[in-house]
């Protein structure tokens, strides 16, 4: 196959190992249009949460210390292994998770986990008709926030404490955030069909940040700060304490895409 022979590649998955990177580079070369398809390719996705821990900790947990590992096991997988004159290779496991954009030039980003089927269809039709927006754009998503498309009633947001989802029975017609249930709908691009709030659960941001926002979690944090119903630093701290492990909420689908990641590369 010659370079540029493929009209379109929808690339899904993040880049976690040498083979992922090889395939990404190969498909980049062979494709006229390369689309980062879904949250993993777009922002690193949920597997990107692995960037909160070291590679060696992952290997130790999975192969040495977990509850059902063979008693006494000291073996972990190796990229290259010779046995009885035969050499076996598996891809090298990288130190962290990368977005597709970190290893190749990406033409378009189609967000979502998974992307909503009607959005995928619209993008495919745009490709066929040659009606794509400028390269580098997010496609198959709205320019509005999830909140703008959510049918729950909204009034003034003033939060005295947060509740974990199982701690209260929600009012299914009222804004979740106003009930103290964490929902990223205000900071997240719409296009998903508001599917999590419609299932009585808060948004976790799989469609990524709003247009013009580079750091999804930071933007959400600043939105949250503005609705805390207190001016007393100690009380504010208490309110925030009712939200454990904020990082994994704010960057549920995009830790590899966050500014937190830059110092780590």
């Amino acid at each position: 196959m010659t370079d540029g022979e493929l009209d379109l590649t929808l690339f899904n998955g993040a880049v976690r190992n040498s083979e992922n990177e090889h395939v990404a580079k190969l498909l980049r070369a062979k494709s006229k249009v390369l689309v980062a398809f879904g949250s993993c390719a777009h922002m690193g996705g949920i597997p990107g949460l692995a960037n909160l821990v070291e590679k060696d900790e992952i290997l130790a947990t999975c192969y040495l210390s977990n509850a059902s590992i063979e008693p006494g096991n000291q073996t972990i997988p190796h990229a290259r292994w010779a046995v009885d004159g035969m050499t076996l290779e598996i891809p090298g496991f990288y130190r962290r998770v990368y977005r597709l954009k970190d290893v190749v030039d990406v033409d378009y980003f189609l967000p979502g986990c998974p992307p909503a089927p009607d959005q995928v269809k619209a993008v495919l039709l745009a490709v066929v008709k040659g009606e794509l927006p400028p390269r580098g754009s997010v496609v198959g998503a709205s320019e509005r926030a999830v909140c703008d498309d959510c049918k729950r009633t909204k009034s003034e947001k003033k939060i005295k404490r947060f509740h974990r989802p199982f701690e209260i029975l929600q009012d299914s017609s009222r804004c979740l955030l106003e009930q103290g249930i964490l929902c990223m709908g205000s900071a997240t691009r719409s296009g998903c069909g508001v599917r999590c709030p419609n299932s009585n659960q808060g948004c976790r941001g799989c469609y990524g940040p709003l247009p013009g926002v580079s750091d999804h979690g930071a933007k959400f944090l600043s939105a949250l700060a503005s609705i805390l119903d207190s001016k007393d630093p100690r009380e504010i701290e208490q309110i925030l304490d009712s939200l454990p492990d904020f990082t994994s909420f704010a960057y549920r689908f995009g830790l590899p895409a966050s500014t937190l990641q830059r110092s780590y590369r």
Binding site: G13, N17, V53, T61, I69, P77, C113, L169
Partner: protein, 486 residues
């Protein structure tokens, strides 16, 4: 001169794997390795997360059976809160799961397995696919299949709110119930799916059983293994997919063990090989004995076939009839012919449809008491469900604030890692011989060996894949000698 055959990546697997076949100088098979090239590390990076978020995180282990992970995770999380769950929530989850099974089994049978049987195992790869199947069986049947799958999807959506990557199960129950109006919408869909399950069995009779060559391949081909069987059963030893005890029965039909979810660690352990990211589970009390078949083997498989092999009966009457027909045709219960997994899948689908009918008739199903607020964190939970592709175990611990402190996952396909390894080698040895050059047909028959397991490697290594065309490279004396492409 020694040669190596590499099949990488394997087609029509919902995931990603690589087969390496090493040949002796005379062209006979020296050894065969089935390698899994991916790891993501969910077991480590969920530590530190609020435990109630895990059912929303682990769905991303797999885009093919996210609901299985969601259910196993929900049950493990239930355990972390002292199993305080609204009773109707268990019924709703089970109901959802039956619809999910139908959805998944349709995809496997018609899109992944049928090409081998309808088109023939050595048919040209350009027609040995779902499009070829539709062209051969007719657009009418093709349309029926697509419609049935959409109905199963619609039932899931009505119950769970969203389909792929559910956010529905939570501590205490589920986030939304089923209204009487929604139930009325579902009822005709369930009736249609029940008809479709019967239709699929008939199609199997006509296409597969009607062809003596296929029956011979199933019963007398190289696709058998002397390893044991695992599956979840109810109190009557009938298959259950959401609840029950894990039963292990040897290939001669004797029970080896039967355990509750919280006892899994006494009965199953995982061996690690340096050349694959995927672990090799075995029966812990027998110890790891290597890739060995036989009555003393410590290996088992966990598939639709093994689920029926560990069952004494089905849970519903029409499925029971199908079960009896299957085993009388195959020469008795249990059955070692791995390709019979495709038939077993259809028998299960009948039970799934009948269970949906039962739930539709259950007056409690539309109860609005679908969630309770748990009042204590107890700190440890075990969730076992039957994923379509094998027994799925999630085991979590959390601290007093409900923050995850450990997670252990033994995923459906992982159970089958050693058997797949062994049967692949067995088939390669039976088909690749001195003087007989491997061609596309033979290599597809090698692939058929593990396709019977419906393996899902994205799942097993907790990695989300893409699918790639197949390339086979044959090495002669260290040099690339031939390349076969699809």
């Amino acid at each position: 001169m020694p040669r190596t055959i590499t099949i990488d990546p394997i087609t029509r697997l919902e995931g990603h794997g690589k087969i390496q076949i090493f040949l002796h100088d005379d062209g006979s098979v020296k050894d065969c390795f089935f390698q899994i090239p991916e790891l993501r590390g969910f077991e480590r990076f969920v530590v530190g997360r609020p435990i109630e978020e895990l059912p929303r995180i682990v769905t991303r282990i797999c885009g093919v059976c996210p609901a299985s992970h969601h259910m196993a995770s929900a049950k493990a999380v239930d355990g972390c809160f002292g199993n305080q769950v609204a009773p109707v929530a268990h019924k709703l989850r089970d109901m959802y799961y039956h619809a999910h099974y139908i959805h998944s089994h349709i995809a496997h049978f018609y899109a992944l397995a049928a090409p081998d049987f309808v088109m023939g195992p050595d048919a040209d790869p350009t027609v040995r696919n779902i499009l070829g199947v539709v062209a051969k069986v007719g657009l009418d049947i093709g349309g029926k299949v697509i419609r049935a799958r959409a109905l199963a999807q619609k039932i899931q959506q009505t119950l769970g709110g969203r389909t792929t990557h559910l956010v529905w199960c939570m501590p205490g129950g589920v986030s939304k119930g089923l209204t009487p109006e929604e139930l009325e919408e579902i009822k005709p869909m369930v009736a249609e799916l029940a008809g479709f399950a019967t239709f699929s069995l008939q199609l199997f009779r006509d296409v597969v059983l009607g062809n003596p060559g296929y029956v011979d391949l199933i019963l007398h081909g190289p696709y058998t293994l002397d390893v044991h069987n695992m599956g979840l059963v109810d109190d009557n030893n009938a298959p259950n997919f959401y609840h029950g005890k894990v039963r292990v029965v040897d290939f001669q039909g004797r029970e080896i063990c039967k355990y509750e979810a919280h006892e899994y660690n006494k009965f199953v352990a995982e061996h690690v090989e340096p050349w694959s990211y995927l672990k090799f589970p075995y029966l812990k009390q027998r110890g790891w004995k290597g890739f060995k078949e036989g009555i003393d083997s410590s290996l088992y498989h966990a598939t639709p076939l093994s689920r029926l092999n560990v069952a004494d009966r089905m849970a519903t009457p029409r499925a029971q009839e199908a079960f009896e027909e299957m085993y009388s045709t195959l020469g008795g219960h249990p059955c070692k012919a791995l390709l019979a997994a495709h038939w077993a899948r259809l028998v299960e689908m009948v039970q799934n449809a009948e269970m949906l009918e039962r739930y539709c008739a259950d007056p409690e199903i539309t109860s609005d008491q679908y969630r309770v607020i748990p009042d204590r964190v107890t700190g440890e939970g075990f969730g076992i469900v039957e994923a379509m592709r094998g027994t799925l175990t999630h085991h979590y611990t959390c601290d007093e604030n409900g923050i995850c402190t450990s997670a252990n996952l033994i995923v459906g396909t992982t159970n089958n890692n050693a058997p797949i390894q062994m049967v692949t080698k067995k088939v390669a040895q039976a088909l690749i011989k001195p003087g007989k050059e491997p061609d596309k047909g033979i290599l597809n028959m090698v692939e058929m060996a593990f396709r019977a397991f419906d393996p899902c490697y994205s799942c097993a290594t907790h990695y989300l894949p893409g699918q790639m065309p197949l390339t086979i490279q044959i090495y002669k004396g260290g040099q690339l000698w031939r390349e076969i492409r699809r």
